[in-house]
Each structure stands twice: as structure tokens, then as C-alpha cells.
Subunit: 594 residues, 2 copies
């Protein structure tokens, strides 16, 4: 979706303030992984979009393209990619645009760009563009209306125009006229350069309106994180610093904590003043840091720490090709990135491939589904590489996980457990201690309010429901006991399968079972999560593979713990169990007397 | 759907007994209307299909085609049309088959046919077929697998083969061989000629199996209704009558009641014996009479009088082109035939036209939507043509309707009220006495068992839900009061429109609201009824038109009652009101202090 449409939607809707975060490509691989972890947490607070910069002189081109793709498709945040003219002949520009277009990204921030490191002045490359205006014109000419195009606005004029700390009236006006030409050429949004004098920004907006620029102008706010960084950045951008700020920083400049706290205070005050002037958009230059930006947004009351609003039980995709997606099998609930990677080729949502045996199925398993960031790998090593003497030791690991004593799981991409797991954690731990190793679960929910913290989704005013769900590994004998118990518990349906595909079930192979749904005013019923037997048969390969590639590999070759895990992988069954009676049922009755 | 697939489905599923009813085309127009009323009631008991005969010598060709179409599409029962060779050149055959195919009918009973009245022997017509085998071959050659083809089986051999009350062994065997040829040529189902000696039927089935006929053989049961008719029919068909039956009938033959009671008893016993022999299909020759056939089916425990099972809140269509249909706007709830007629051209279900403004819309209003059978017209005349002096007199009519004191309504095709209306009838009558003239309603239902008699549907094991709904006409002033009340009742959504299209609403024009849904084991959520603002704008023309064409026309031109109704039609608003809070809401709060 285009950012401009989100901003217009908010303005025409509930008058909600739109906020966004800017990041830059880290220099190391580990830095990139850490950035994604951070983004993941920040995106949970529902920024309207995030943007990623294009390194000076195109130095990060491939990395920026890759990060943009992962932001849009794995983090699932509406992504705006910066694109500059520096060192970019038109073929490279088009390659970048074609790439993000095919990755479902619709937003570009078009810039001339700074000169590469070591050069003083911008130089037009052969076969390239001279300025952002050329780039905007090219994008519109070649890609029509597909992209939302943002351009930069300079409340104090472009730094090149600034001499001795100030732009002349003439330079300022010429810069404004140039901005208008960028908008007239097809840009639909302006984000400003950073500033610390709010009055300058407000005057700038007014001046823009005077010369007929009507599109939204989003203030770019850079929280002060660090005194030296602040001086460097404002020096580079030739930003005017009000005396009040200089005076406030001077006495605390060596106290990093104090500087950061002041930065949060200042940012909050600046934003308050801007909002009070009727501007409902805020853009935060995060410098890849989490705390200051979130603190400002939180101070403004735009997010509540306790209430991460979910539009669906899983994070809704932003890729333009899959915005229609509104239903997923429950199996990948803790592995959303794996699910996206396996369904990336689908061209139809929600009724793409799953449940329809006539269509080509899920993408084959690749190394991708078993890759994990170094930080998670470290955590797994700490928590899961303890010696295992028997299956009881394995059970114990799962019991600890259920009780919140493990932050990681080989079967999950997430940190810790879903909030709703707390509702059934004691019962889960009992089941696990009996040797039913749960890797996915949800409690039954019978018409809770849709804004309740642990289980709500979809916004206020509705009611949400869930059928109780358990997914676990167990031995063949234990499976037999479950199957026997289910015979006298008619509301339970199950599917069980081992690594080799031997399976048993009491439902038809095409019976898709809605296990999460919501009822909202003036809407059709929404059912975002299902148990789908056909997808289960695809999922089981991944789930079994994790025994070896997720867990056993934490131990050295030949280690008895490793052998034990591979033995379990070979002999256990994976069982998907639903209690269809979400009003009076008790899924844990299936484990009675076992 | 092909009948053979229904029979196979039942055999592979719950072992349910499949039963069906046969009818013939009545001679008068009124007879036809009465037949449809009767069928409508009988079909409520879920026969797997009904068939309609092809009059001797093709005498009823057009009528049979028309009745078949209405059976399949208006009564919504899976329909099998008889087709014979008598007087039917191939062009006529193809015309008949093309017609039913385009009407979504998939089942044909292929017969040679009896000679026309006045002729003794079957004569092949020029350009026609000599026998049912030719007809079966032709249908398969020309229409491939589209049709399910049924053929007749003669347990006592074809009457033409019977001399002096018995067929020779040779004749019987030659008839069996011929039957096998019909099956080999593509027939997938056999229905037998009537018989009264069950042993003969069972032997026949066995003989068929011996020579390699494997398709289901459905016993044709003709309940004895009337002594003379029984003699005539068995004489014509040369049916063997066991002495036991003759002896039982002889003493009661002049007592019609007693004959009918015996017929029911005999039919029940015959069926019991057949079912006990592992045959799970029964076909009843009803002779267009309701009671005996239903009584036999009821005696066998195949239906319960108190429990008319609904698979959806409305009767699911059988037309092969609309079997996917699973959602309808609530507005036509009491006018299902009108709804079908207005959507007959849609080629996509459920997401055909409604709610999608990019597609051509509902079929225009025609006389069809305002036609009614003579019996209903008579009832309306009795109940609704009473003089009306003021709008209070109009309100009084509606109050009486709500309280069950009227069996008819100009706005309904149904007899009386829906069972669920009983739940809110007192409150409805209060609302009507205030001048809100309700034409459609449903109570809120919060998770009732899906087999509960008044509101259940979809079979056992699930839970059903409804948002409270009211649709009514009211004056502009009264609408204003409702709108004011809704301002403090946030769970209420409404759409109001007058005859000229002036409208007001507190929902988006594309906000489709599910108002009936069900949750079932191992299934996706089913939401068969919605309030769809775009359809409402189509419906309102029909609803307003009924003031004149449904009610005012019961009075003579110039009559003051007629003028009053037309005045109301011109000045009132039609209001659709939903209480979205199906758990804690109270839709009647909208009428407080009015």
C-alpha cells in the first residue's frame, strides 16, 4: 500500500497520528540480524511504515534492496526504500525499482543523494540523473502510478544552499520552488530533513502551502542520543540549533544517560508542538536505535506499553501481492517467516494453495527455513544444548518452555511464548511431563472482547473465539492412548503422522477447520487461523526436520544426546488435536489416565 | 448433483437411507400450483431427489420441462426428469436435454415410454429412437458425463413380456440382459417398476448381480391409496399381487380410510424388509399425494415430524450452477423464490454480484416477483383486504401478523411466520403498534446448539449465532427518532431508504455484515446470511413495490384503503436495523420512548 494512502486514510478516519521509523543498513552481518530483531519489536507497535536508507554513493545498493525485501515480506511492515542518483546509471535505477516492485514494495524516497565518501560534490554519473526531480520524473514515466514517491523537504533549505549557517531568502525560495517542481512531477509526500527549531518547520509548511504545495509534509525528528553524534549530524546537515538546546546540553554533555533522557524530553516536546499545530504525521530518524524513538511515541500516548494491537492473530502482510491474505494454517503460528518463505510464490490469497490438492503445493523445504540469527542460535545453545540422557530429559525441556523458563525453542522463531499460553501453562506442563511434547497450542476462547490484551485482535467492538488446540510429538504407544480417549470425546478431532508419513485421523483429509475467528460490527466473520489436513502433511516435514536441524545439531556428531533426539525424530508421531467444543469442551481430557 | 453421487455419498458416509418421491404433471393450472405447494412441504423433509414423469406419448413435454425447472430451481430439490422415446424425434429429445441442462438439472430417467393414449403398441417415430437403450446411448454420446442417467428395471419383466400374468423364464432373462445393456451403455442407476411382492424384488436384485449389474437398484414403492386405483395400476403394469394383500383388502375395499391405512402399513412393512436386506434406497410413487408417502417414511424413522432439518437457514439450491452458493442477503428471507429469480443469471456463487458494484447487478423487477399462486391470493384477499381508515389500521394488520393471527403477508411467500419469530413476537407486536411495520426480523442467538428446533441448522454438533435484525417501514419522523436513539446505542447499525432512493445510514456502503453464522466441528465458519447495503438498495424497490402490487391491488381502484396504502408507499422509509452485539445487546432499545 502507498504510504500516502495510509496517511489519507488516517486523516479521513479516526484522526489517528501516523508515525514511522527510519533505519540505515548496518555494516556487519550480525548488525543486520540485530537490526531485524529490533525492527520486529518496534513494528509490533504499528508504525505506518519504516524506511531504509540508500548508502552514500550507492555503497549499500544490494544490501538496501535485500533489507527492503525482508522488511516488507518478513517483518511485514510497509516499507519505503530510499533511492539516490549518485553513481546510478538508469539501468541500475531500474534494476532497483524492478526488484522492489516484484517484491511487493510500493514506496520509494527519491533523492539526489550525497556524494560518495571522499568526494566533496555531487557528480552526475554517465547515463544517470542530475537530481531528485529527474528521478521522480523517470519513476512516473516508467512505472506510472505503481509507486508512492516521497521526496525530501529542507525546512532550512538544502545544505548546499547554506552559507555561514544560513540560506539567503533567495536560496530558500529557490529551494522551495524546486520542491514544488518535484511534487508537480509526481511526488505525493514530503519528509523533511531533521530540524531542532520547530518554528522553522512550521514556517516551512506554511511557505509550502503558500506556493501551492498541498501534499502532506512529514516532520523528520531525530532524537538526540549522544552528544558527539548530535554535533556531527547537525554539522553535516548545517542544522540550526536553538540556544536553549545548546545551553541545556552543555552541562550534561559527558553524561550519556542524561543526554539521552534530554533527547527524549526534547523530542516529545517538539512533537507535541507539531501535533498541536494540526499536523498528524511524525517521522523518527532512529539511527537504528530503539529506545528513544519508542519512548517519544509512548510519551505522546500513541502506543501503550501493555497493549500491542493486533489486526489479526498473526501479523498481516504488507506485500502488495498478499494484502488479501486473511487465513493461515495454525501450524506455522510460531514460524511466520518460514510460512511466508514457503508460500512466497503463491499468487492467490487467501485461497491459494492450501487445502486445494489440485494446485502445486508449498515451496519445498530449503536451508532458509532452518537458518537463524546468531543471537537466537546463541540462546538455543545456552538453553537447549544441555545433555539428554532419556526422553524424560527431553520432556523436562518442554516443561520448562511451557512454564516460561526458556526464552527460545527450536520450533519457534519468536522470543518466549505467546501471551495466551499463560492461560494454560500449568496444564501444558502437565501434558509435557507425561511425554506429550507440545510445540503449538491455544486455549479455547468463547466470545472474549476483541480488545482483551492476551487474546484480542481486530480492534475494539467485536468478539473473538478460539477452539482449543494442541500440537505435540509423542510415542506410538501414547498416540494409541490418545486415539482411544478420543473415541469417547466426540468433540475432539485429530490428525497424527510420523516422519515417514504413516498417518491416522478422525477427520476427512479435506476438512478445513476454523480454529480462530472473530465477529465484528458491520463485517463478515473473519477466520484467520485454520487446521488444514493437507497443509499439516506439508508442515510435518518441517516439524520433524527441526529435531535434527534445529536441536540435535547443537550437539557434536556422535554425542548420545544427539543420537537420542534422532531416535525420537524417527519414532515419534506429530499430533494435531482440536477440541471443537469451544464452549463446554476440555481438550486436556484427552490425556486423562495416561 | 447426480443422484448416483448422492447415493454413493450416503453409502460411504453415515449409511443414511436415501429416499425419493415421484410426481406426475397435473392436468390443470391450479393442480400444478397445488402440486408445488405439496412438494414444498414434502421437500422440507429432505428427500434425496424427486422425479417428474413425461406424459404418455410426450403429451406433457412442455409442462414437464417447466415443472422440472421449477422443481430444481424454486423448490430446490434435486430433480430427475423422465424422458421417453414416444413421438420424440432426436431434435425434440435434444431440445429437452439442452433445456434441462441449461436449467442446472443433471438427472434423467431414460425410458422407451408407453404408447400414446388410444394406441396399443409402441411405434418408433421417424428420426426417433426405438428403445431406452438407444436413448441412453444417445445421451452419453452427445452429453458425455454431464447427466446422471437412470433406467427402469422390471422385477417381473417388462409388461410386454408378460403373458397370462407371468413372464417365461426366457422372457425374464432376456429382459435382464437388456437391462444390463442399458447399464453398460451408460446408465448409472436403476429404479424398479412398482411391485407388491418383496421377495420378487429381492430375487431380481440378486439376478441382476449374478449377470454383472453392479449399480444401485432402487425399489419403487407405490403406497395403496385407493382400491380402484390400485387395481387399475397393477392391472396396467401386470403386477403380481400376493394373496395376503388381496385377502386383506377385500373386506375393507369400500372404506377409503381403511384402505389408505392398510397401504401405509403394507408400504412400511415392505420397506422394512427391503432395508433389512441391506438396501438403503427407497423410491416412492406418490401419485401426487402427500400423506401416505410421508407416513411410510416417518414410520421408518427417516424423518421426525418435529424436526425439519435445515442444512442452512435457507433451503440450499440444487441447480448445478449454484451449488457453491452459501451466502444470501437477509432481505429476501421470506421471498426465496423471488431471490432465486432475480439472481438466476449469476454465474458465480457465493461471490457473484452482491456487494460488488463492479459487476452487473440483480435482474430487473419483472411481473414474476409479484405473481402468486391462486391459493395464496385467496388467503391474502381474506386477511388483508379489510378496509383501512388510517395508518393505525395498517399497524393493526402487522401486529396481527406478528402474533400469528395472519397466515399470509404481502411481503412473504411463506405460510405464516418463521419458527424463530415466536421468540420475539410480543416485542415485535409492540414495535408494530408504535407504527414500525416489520417485514423481516430475527432474534439474537448466542451459541445455541445447531440442532435446536427453532433456530438450528447445519446438523448436530455445532453452535449457531445470529445478530438481532429488524426490517420495517416507518414515517420520516419515526425514522428521525430511531436515528437519534442509535446515537447512544453504538452496537446498532442501520440503513434507511425511501421509495425515491433518499437514504441515510451509519455504515459504509460496502460494509457487508454477517448476521447469521455457525461453527461446526472440523469445518470453516459458515455465514449464510448477511446484511449487504448494496443489495438493500436493490431490495428496496421490490419491498416498496409490494405496497401497490401486493396489497393495494386487493382493493378496487379509487378505494380509500388503496389510496392510503399508496400514500404510505410514497412517504415511508424502509429501515434495516442490526444489533451487532449478539451477546449483550437489545435491539428493541432503539424504540425506547418513541
Amino acid at each position: 500500500m502507498k504510504v500516502i494512502d495510509k496517511i489519507r486514510g488516517a486523516a479521513n478516519g479516526d484522526g489517528r497520528t501516523v508515525f514511522s521509523f527510519e533505519f540505515f543498513p548496518p555494516k556487519t552481518e550480525e548488525g543486520v540480524e540485530n537490526l531485524f530483531d529490533r525492527m520486529d519489536r518496534m513494528v509490533a507497535h504499528n508504525p505506518s511504515f519504516c524506511d531504509i536508507t540508500w548508502g552514500a554513493g550507492g555503497s549499500t545498493a544490494d544490501l538496501t534492496l535485500d533489507i527492503s525485501n525482508r522488511m516488507q515480506n518478513m517483518i511485514c511492515v510497509e516499507t519505503m526504500m530510499h533511492l539516490t542518483c549518485t553513481n546510478m546509471p538508469v539501468e541500475k535505477i531500474d534494476h532497483a525499482l524492478d526488484t522492489i516492485k516484484s517484491n511487493g514494495i510500493q514506496n520509494v524516497l527519491a533523492l539526489r543523494g550525497d556524494p560518495p565518501h571522499g568526494q566533496d560534490k555531487f557528480v552526475q554519473v554517465a547515463g544517470g540523473f542530475a537530481c531528485a526531480l529527474d528521478l521522480v520524473q523517470h519513476i512516473r514515466a516508467k512505472y506510472g502510478d505503481y509507486f508512492g514517491i516521497t521526496v525530501a523537504g529542507y525546512p532550512e533549505a538544502h545544505p548546499d544552499m547554506i552559507q555561514d549557517g544560513i540560506a539567503t531568502e533567495e536560496a530558500y525560495n529557490s529551494d522551495l520552488t524546486y520542491l514544488k517542481r518535484k511534487v508537480d512531477a509526481g511526488a505525493d509526500l514530503i519528509i523533511t530533513q531533521l530540524f531542532y527549531d520547530t518554528d522553522i518547520f512550521l514556517k516551512f509548511v506554511n511557505d509550502c502551502r503558500q506556493i501551492g504545495i498541498t501534499c502532506p509534509i512529514v516532520p523528520g525528528i531525530m532524537p538526540i542520543n549522544n552528544y558527539k553524534g548530535f554535533l556531527r549530524m547537525t554539522g553535516f546537515c548545517k542544522t540550526k540549533i536553538p540556544d536553549k538546546i545548546t545551553n541545556a546540553l552543555e552541562p550534561i554533555k559527558d553524561n550519556e544517560e542524561a543526554v539521552r533522557a534530554y533527547g527524549i524530553h526534547l523530542g516529545t516536546e517538539m512533537c507535541k508542538k507539531i501535533l498541536a499545530n494540526g499536523i498528524n504525521t511524525l517521522h523518527l530518524y532512529t539511527l537504528n536505535m530503539e529506545k528513544s524513538a519508542l519512548a517519544i511515541i509512548m510519551n505522546l500516548g500513541l502506543i501503550e506499553e501493555s497493549k500491542v494491537l493486533r489486526s489479526l492473530p498473526w501479523r498481516r502482510p504488507t506485500n502488495v501481492f498478499r494484502v488479501q491474505e486473511d487465513v493461515r494454517p495454525i501450524f506455522w503460528a510460531n514460524r511466520p517467516k518460514s510460512y511466508i518463505s514457503r508460500t512466497i510464490g503463491w499468487d492467490q490469497y487467501p485461497h491459494g494453495r492450501w487445502g486445494d490438492s489440485n494446485n502445486p503445493s508449498y515451496g519445498a523445504l530449503t536451508d532458509y527455513q532452518f537458518m537463524r540469527p546468531r543471537s537466537r542460535d546463541k540462546k538455543l545453545q545456552e538453553e537447549w544444548a544441555t545433555p539428554l540422557k532419556s526422553v524424560d530429559d527431553i520432556s523436562e525441556q518442554f516443561v520448562k518452555l511451557c512454564l516460561g523458563k526458556r526464552r527460545s525453542s527450536p520450533w519457534s522463531e519468536l522470543d518466549g511464548l505467546q501471551p495466551e499460553t499463560k492461560i494454560i501453562d500449568e496444564k501444558l506442563s502437565q501434558v509435557n511431563s507425561k511425554g506429550f511434547l507440545t510445540i503449538n497450542s491455544q486455549p479455547a476462547i468463547n466470545g472474549e472482547k476483541s480488545d482483551s490484551p492476551a487474546v484480542g485482535w481486530g480492534g475494539p467492538g467485536g468478539y473473538v473465539y478460539q477452539k482449543a488446540y494442541l500440537e505435540f510429538f509423542c510415542s506410538k504407544d501414547k498416540l494409541h492412548s490418545i486415539v482411544e480417549n478420543c473415541k469417547v470425546l466426540p468433540s475432539l478431532t485429530y490428525i497424527a503422522v510420523n516422519k515417514d508419513g504413516n498417518h491416522t485421523s478422525n477427520v476427512a483429509p479435506n476438512a478445513v477447520n476454523a480454529v480462530t475467528w472473530g465477529v465484528f460490527p458491520g463485517k463478515e466473520i473473519i477466520q484467520p487461523t485454520v487446521v488444514d489436513p493437507m497443509s499439516f502433511m506439508i508442515w510435518k516435514d518441517e516439524a520433524f526436520e527441526i529435531w535434527s536441524r534445529g536441536w540435535a545439531r547443537l550437539f557434536p556428531e556422535g554425542d548420545p544426546s544427539r543420537e537420542l533426539l534422532l531416535q525420537v525424530q524417527k519414532s515419534y508421531y506429530l499430533v494435531s488435536l482440536v477440541d471443537n467444543d469451544f464452549i463446554h469442551g476440555d481438550i486436556f481430557a484427552a490425556f486423562k489416565d495416561i
